[in-house]
């Protein structure tokens, strides 16, 4: 670790905070249904979209109506993306001439992009045509992120509204988020990336003759436009197999810094926007403080573990001053690789600039823990906010139990129904992650997919199901996921992770919106100060760390001690 590295990390996080404030104002205006500075240009587009779609812009939906709209929209997205992949060999813009995608892989990829996971069981540059990348993958990078934020809007409305049956209109929220936030930010960011060296062309590949006279075929394409929304929408599906480690996706230190800013930006801005929406910025600050504790502690742990390096290689005669360089790029270094790995797993992005499979055991433990906690510091676009609000509800409930009062959060009483829904939204994860991991450990066909054996092999499996159920999409990428077993079960984990969590969340939104607001009294537990931050910390540790501790100790923790002992597998 060095001062330059920590300064770079601090500068990046400061830039996130500085940019998040104006973006949060924009998000808050859309939440409230107000015009934005782009409305003079975009209002006619909105009206045309709503007229063609038959959406009444003045009508709102109940939580159930909101949910069915979201589910129908996701289903249609799934079908169109599936069809596109199956037919890509018959469609234009396929310069390299790729074949149609096999049914199980097309299923996995469609689920992956519709649920904002972007788990990739394929290598982009050797599988997907430009048309599939643009019309399929790029589109769902926008739509799945907009859907996530719309669901967070519905939950926040549950708190801001009183005694009503509606939580907003999904079509309006999703459309306006895409038009006013995601698209303009992506256009700007795509140009910044091109200026920094990210290609944007419709060519498929370039033939070069190297200095030694060999032929080098360089894959290329419309990378910048996909890269921009990939980070801003916390999607993470790379144009290339190596994702943001590929020099065309992430050419240098500046692009790296800005990509990290981009993937943290909207999640952080959404929390600020939540503060504006509930009319109390202190509530948002308490949540952000708890998120920051986990994020910064995680960065420190990865940075320290990776700088310490791999003692097995040191013994062989490798200079340890640069740290663990296996699976890392020289231009990023340890500090910005640590921040990227923590940020991408603290959000539901899943883009990588370093291969997580090659991280040291403790360096890999941090992203794994972030995934197991559901990627909520600061979380995916929308998904982070609603995920963290669920934790906040559980935290006030625990506080209520301790003092023997009915818990309240933001003026809403948290009663049996709300608690049941909140618990449903979090308890589904251990079932999916531990269930599928255990099943895979027992299956020879699953174990054949491992790239590493010993405890690291278990880590590959655990990471895969943690990543997909949390809709993250990063991987211990040695695992060969393109098999029938993994395409199917990882696809199911993504579906359950998204929808089995969000349906209880939307039901919670409906239940809260129907309640009267109760004014705060002397007995109300304050949710805007350090005490609440501490409580959130405790609940997260108990809820997530302890329930996965046995699995983690058999994977990364035991591997750490074996590595110190010089044991290899």
């Amino acid at each position: 670790m060095n001062l330059a590295g920590w300064s770079e990390i601090a500068l990046t996080l400061a830039l996130v905070a500085a940019l998040a404030i104006p973006i949060s104002a924009l998000i808050a205006r859309i939440f409230a249904g107000q015009d934005t500075f782009l409305s003079p240009a975009l209002a006619p587009v909105e009206r045309a979209f709503f007229r063609l779609a038959g959406v009444d812009p003045h009508k709102e939906q109940s939580w159930l109506g909101y949910t069915t709209a979201m589910l129908t929209f996701s289903a249609v997205g799934f079908v169109s993306l599936y069809a596109l992949q199956r037919l890509q060999n018959h469609l234009p813009l396929n310069p390299v001439g790729f074949d149609a995608i096999a049914p199980d892989l097309a299923f996995n990829t469609s689920v992956s992009f519709v649920t904002n996971t972007n788990w990739q069981n394929y290598s982009g540059e050797s599988t997907m045509s430009h048309l599939t990348q643009m019309l399929g993958l790029t589109v769902h990078n926008f739509l799945s992120a907009a859907t996530g934020l719309a669901m967070a809007f519905a939950l926040v409305r549950g708190f801001t509204r009183s005694s009503v049956t509606t939580v907003g209109n999904f079509w309006i929220d999703m459309t306006r988020i895409t038009l006013h936030v995601l698209l303009p930010l992506s256009v700007v960011f795509a140009f910044v990336l091109v200026a920094l060296g990210v290609p944007q062309t419709l060519q498929g590949s370039i033939d070069a003759t190297t200095l030694e006279g060999a032929k080098q075929v360089i894959s290329i394409g419309p990378v910048a436009s996909q890269e921009a929304i990939k980070e801003l929408g916390t999607n993470g599906g790379g144009f290339f197999n190596a994702n943001s480690a590929h020099p065309f996706e992430n050419p240098g230190a500046w692009s790296d810094l800005l990509e990290i800013v981009a993937l943290l930006l909207i999640p952080v801005a959404s929390v600020f926007a939540f503060g504006r929406a509930v009319g109390d910025p202190k509530q948002a600050r308490a949540i952000l403080a708890s998120m920051a504790i986990f994020l910064v502690a995680g960065v420190g742990a990865v940075y320290a573990a990776e700088t310490y390096g791999n003692p097995i290689l040191k013994t062989l005669g490798v200079d340890s001053s640069a740290g663990n360089m296996e699976g890392k790029e020289v231009r990023f270094g340890q500090a910005m690789s640590a921040l990227f790995a923590t940020g991408t797993s603290g959000t539901s992005t899943g883009a990588v600039n370093t291969m997580h499979d090659s991280l040291t055991p403790l360096g890999g433990l941090v992203p794994m823990f972030n995934l197991l906690a559901g990627c909520i510091w600061p979380g995916g676009v929308g998904a982070g906010l609603y995920g963290f609000l669920v934790v906040a509800i559980i935290a006030v409930f625990v506080a209520g139990l301790m003092v023997g009062r009915t818990p309240e959060y933001l003026g809403k009483k948290i009663e049996a129904r709300e608690m049941k829904l909140a618990m449903l939204a979090v308890l589904i994860y251990p079932l999916v992650v531990l269930g599928f991991t255990s099943a895979s450990v027992l299956l020879k066909t699953a174990l054949d997919s491992l790239n590493n054996t010993g405890p690291h092999g278990l880590s590959e499996l655990l990471y895969a199901y943690a990543s997909t159920s949390a809709n993250n999409g990063s991987a211990f990428a040695g695992l060969n996921g393109a098999t029938l077993w993994f395409n199917t079960t990882l696809g199911l984990a993504m579906l359950v992770g998204r929808f089995a969590c969000v349906i209880p969340v939307l039901a919670l939104a409906g239940a809260l919106a129907a309640k009267k607001k109760v004014p705060a009294s002397a007995g109300t537990f304050p949710t805007d100060g350090p005490l609440f931050v501490g409580l959130l910390f405790g609940v997260i540790v108990i809820l997530y760390l302890l329930q996965y501790f046995p699995a983690l100790s058999l994977g990364p923790i035991v591997e750490h001690f074996l590595m110190l002992d010089g044991k290899t597998f």
Binding site: V76, S205, A208, Q226, F240, A245, L313, G317, E329, D357
Partner: protein, 214 residues
């Protein structure tokens, strides 16, 4: 659900046109116009031919050139398409090794690369990046320590003065911006192009590189 079908289908279609077609094509059109070099892959030309991209590493085996990092990329085996063979710096299939820290394969590979580095004249502890594969398999850079450790070999193979080659390495080393942003590094392709230029009478005329000045 049926009531929702029309808005779902219409909005997926409209956003497909807007974000899937209009957005990438508009960015492509403008990028090709205002940043032609970057938008097309920051290619380097020499004598009318593309010799590579400034951003993408390439494989160097000769003693006359500085070597990049080991690369874990592979390619389909020409003899049997169902198998793959090692193909370092295959820029059509980026990949890392994904070997974990306790992998025996990793230790064996590092041991072999370390022996090769020693055979090439390396002494003492080897710089980590010289025996580890990058995340993409296409890392264009090496650390300054790695470059300096190869100076003697390259100078000997070319019959150059080691001091001249060392000066060239130092001139090719990119440093941290304001002492904070970025890592000290050497772009191997650019260094090797400059190295070829050392023996040519008019290197500036022979190398047409439209890179931005570093």
């Amino acid at each position: 659900m049926l009531r929702d079908l029309r808005p779902a289908v219409v909005l997926v279609a409209l956003f497909t046109l807007l974000t899937g077609l209009a957005y990438p094509l508009a960015v492509t059109g403008l990028a090709q116009f205002v940043a032609t070099n970057q938008a097309n892959g920051s290619l380097i030309w020499r004598e009318g031919k593309v010799v590579g991209s400034a951003l993408i590493g390439q494989s160097f085996a000769s003693d006359r050139y500085f070597h990049g990092r080991p690369s874990a990329t592979s390619a389909a085996d020409p003899a049997d398409a169902s198998k793959t063979i090692d193909a370092p710096y295959n820029a059509a299939a980026s990949a890392g090794s994904n070997l974990g820290p306790t992998s025996a394969k990793l230790a064996a590979r590092v041991k072999a690369d370390l022996a090769a580095w020693r055979a090439g004249g390396g002494v003492g502890q080897v710089p980590a990046d010289a025996v580890t594969t990058s995340a993409s398999g296409l890392d264009p850079d090496i650390s300054p320590a790695n470059a300096l450790s190869q100076v003697a070999r390259v100078a000997k193979a070319r019959g150059f003065d080691a001091g001249d080659v060392r000066t060239l390495v130092e001139a090719s080393t990119a440093r941290r911006f304001l002492g904070v942003i970025g890592e000290p590094r050497v772009n191997v392709l650019e260094l090797n192009l400059a190295l070829d230029g050392l023996q040519q009478p008019r290197p500036s005329a022979a190398i047409k590189s439209d890179l931005e000045p570093k």
